[in-house]
């Protein structure tokens, strides 16, 4: 492959088109809103900006996006291979329950996590057989997967725990706890964190000194004030918000980062990824090239089960409990995952970013519910769903893989 071609291909991977325009537009709107909030701190905009730029919001956005991103990655593989998996919600539900149950039985978080993944993969395997072997309508079969899990998980919980909600198990540690416990790396990290904090304190000291020194000088005072404000803001965003959120973050957040990277690499840089994409775009060509389309699709759907299973396990384990009332604790996250990867144009990184948008909104509404902003909580709670509809209406048609949703029959029988 020539360099030129490689560059062009990379460009194609990153090309966002109308989606990009929508993203830029929302970015501009967000910046304007932030400025408004900073200028008028007393208003709702001020409160919102205050909430958005807190370490708590970012860390809960990261936490909330874990199940959605992982399910979306799974959905990307399945749909890219030509099987529309609308049952992601069901896979999340079944793995969320399975993880808690296995953790409760064995007392081991890793076993629980693995059990959730296995439960989800088994359900995905059922879906794969039904769609690929028995040529079922993928949408209806996906719906059935959701409904089965929606019934089965609370049923099992009722049988085992006597209620739709399970007992509580201990939760996985935060990344900081894990790393700080390590022999050498932990010490290094401790030094780094104290250095960052020390740097922040130094900035404040220098700023105060400068302010005092230049207080009387008209122009220089203003200049120093501006520099100090910018430095303070950068320090705040980098150290308090980013480092704060990342250090606080649970290990599953890092697992999610890893999976996003691996999925991107797997989809665009490996033989398997090429097969998956070909299987969804032009199965006949793949067949002619001597690759078994059905096997590629099985692998992709099973992979969607594994990834969604990680998402469901992470969801319930980080909260330490499975709640099975009504739409269960998953509560539409599987469907939001579908919107996320459509909005992200089937690109794992795009799906991750658009999930951060939805999860950020979700985190925002949770914080806002605690503060009194004059809008009733029941209405704040529906904002992420409204946002999904607005996004879909703006982005509009997404070009789905051309053979998605169709059964492929190999010529040689």
């Amino acid at each position: 492959m020539s360099t030129l071609e490689r560059v062009r291909r990379r460009g194609a991977d990153l090309d966002l088109g109308r989606r990009g325009q929508a993203a830029v537009a929302s970015g501009v709107a967000f910046a304007a809103f932030t400025a408004l909030g900073l200028l008028f701190p007393g208003t709702i905009a001020g409160t919102l900006v205050d909430v958005i730029f807190s370490a708590g919001t970012l860390s809960s956005a990261l936490r909330l996006s874990v199940p959605i991103v992982l399910a979306a990655l799974g959905g990307i593989f399945a749909e890219k291979s030509g099987v529309i998996n609308i049952g992601l919600e069901g896979l999340l539900i079944i793995s969320a329950f399975g993880a808690i149950y296995a953790t409760d039985l064995t007392g081991n978080l890793w076993v629980g996590f693995g059990a959730g993944v296995v439960a989800s993969t088994l359900l995905a395997a059922l879906f794969a057989v039904v769609c690929i072997e028995f040529r079922a309508d993928q949408i209806i079969a996906g719906l059935a997967v959701w409904l089965i899990a929606l019934g089965l998980a609370p049923f099992a919980s009722q049988v085992i725990y006597g209620a739709p909600n399970t007992t509580s198990v201990r939760t996985p540690p935060s990344a900081a706890d894990v790393v700080l416990g390590l022999p050498v790396v932990g010490d290094v990290l401790r030094v780094l964190v104290s250095a960052a904090t020390g740097f922040g304190a130094a900035v404040v000291t220098v700023a105060t000194g400068l302010r005092n020194a230049t207080g009387g000088v008209p122009l220089a005072g203003l200049l120093v004030e501006a520099v100090v404000t910018v430095a303070g803001a950068v320090h705040y965003v980098v150290v308090v918000v980013l480092v704060g959120a990342l250090v606080e973050a649970n290990v599953v957040v890092y697992l999610t980062f890893l999976m996003v990277a691996l999925s991107w690499y797997g989809l665009y840089r490996t033989q398997f990824g090429r097969w998956v994409r070909a299987s969804g775009e032009n199965p006949r060509a793949l067949d002619t090239a001597g690759v078994d389309v059905s096997r590629v699709r099985y692998a992709a759907v099973l992979l969607s089960g594994v990834l969604s299973g990680m998402g469901g396990s992470a969801l319930s384990l980080t909260l330490g409990q499975f709640t099975g009332n009504g739409p269960t604790m998953v509560n539409g996250k599987g469907f939001i995952a579908i919107v996320a990867y459509l909005f992200g144009n089937y690109n794992p990184v795009g799906a991750f970013l658009s999930t951060l948008l939805f999860a950020g909104l979700d985190a925002l509404q949770i914080v806002l519910q605690l503060r009194d902003v004059g809008v009733p909580n029941q209405l704040i709670r529906v904002t992420p769903f409204v946002m999904v509809i607005v996004v879909l209406a703006l982005v509009g048609r997404t070009r789905i893989p051309s053979a998605a949703g169709e059964h492929y029959e190999s010529g040689e029988e």
């Binding site: 209806i140 719906l143 739709p164």
Partner: protein, 462 residues
Amino acid sequence: MSVRERGRRALERLVAASAVERALISLASLVLAVAIGTVIILVAGRMTTCDAAAFVLTHPTSVGVPGLFRVGIPELFRMGFCHDPVTVFDRLFLGALADPLSPGWDPLDGQIAVTLRETTVLVFTGLSVALAFRAGIFNIGTQGQMVVGALATALVVLWVAPLVSGVVGAVLLVPFGLLVGAAFGGFYGAIPGALKAYADANEVITTIMLNFIATGVVLFLVSEVFKDPASQANQTVPLPDDALFPPVLFGGRFGFSVLALVFALAAVLALAYLLSRTSFGYDIRTSGVQPQAAEYGGVDARRTIVASMTLSGALGGLAGAVYVLMILGNFETGVPAYGFDGITVAILAGNNPLGVPFAALLFGVLKSGTTVVQFATDVPPQLVGVLRGLIILFVAMPEFFRMLGRRVVPPERGRPTEPGTAATDGGRFRGDDARSADGEQVRGGGGDAVDGPGRDPGGGRE
């Protein structure tokens, strides 16, 4: 393709997709779901602890001919279960019908009233989903449309009721309430329709999101604005009796009115007529099976999408109105999942309005039987939810049953059994199946509009 050959293929498809096959597949799905449900009940029975086993799996301990000889067998295998699947399914199906096999069967029993009451609401939600399906739209939002219609009916009727009184009120208020429910449900259905038609937004996602939004907003309205101050629950004040469906035959306390059921069946016939005999119904069906051809034939695709979603939403809204005017007598949050059951009903009925009452009756039995099962056994009621999912799963894979059938009865004289001819979706995705089955030509251009290769893979999906 010659006319003869085309006729032959049409006949083949007609046979393959016949109503008999549909009914058989639905029945087989039900049996299979019950079989798997049995396994689930047994497994659940092993995981629970109980004093005495309700069901014991073992083998006979003696063989022989009575009166002649008898050989004892030592007991090698014995396994007790806390739940008896036979009791569960007996209560689920026969209990819901007040034990029709026992001698003292009373067809006017309260449990039958409950079953028919559930059936009535399910007919409307089933019709709602089926209609959208026929237009090639997957309306998962019937639940939300029903909730919106229900609340609107309750509020508007409460507002209007003091203005009319007596006999006039009784005659006018119920139809008025139904109309209000249909109007609001229709409006809420038109939103995803317009989003699909004009912004290309996937209706599966938008309708699911609109369900969440409807639940949230209605919860806010009922708990904060229209709450009955005398009640702890999130509900409105009760509607006056004049405004409710009068109980006929059955006692009033079961929340069932024969009038509502008659109205539901009338809706079934009206929809069947609309789909098969009117030009609007024709537009809907052709857009469903082959949107390109429909558009080429002069159908305004966007308008048809919005119109069919509005009608579908109106049927969902009617379900809500009936739920309020017949069952509740006011509005209370936490509307049962009739909308989602409507999807199952529609799929089971093959999206044919005439099949909807039968499928609705089956699910009415399942819903009403759930309470009987809960009363008689310790099996968690969520079991019915699992059964619902399993039934959909099996109905979605007719090919599975065809493969089974072919294994048992080899195909005669090599009659080609084309893959995927009898669609689970009433022929939505398959080019010209439905057209052939109906024996009609797509209108426009002298009936030759789709003379070309009628088979357009995935024509209904884009």
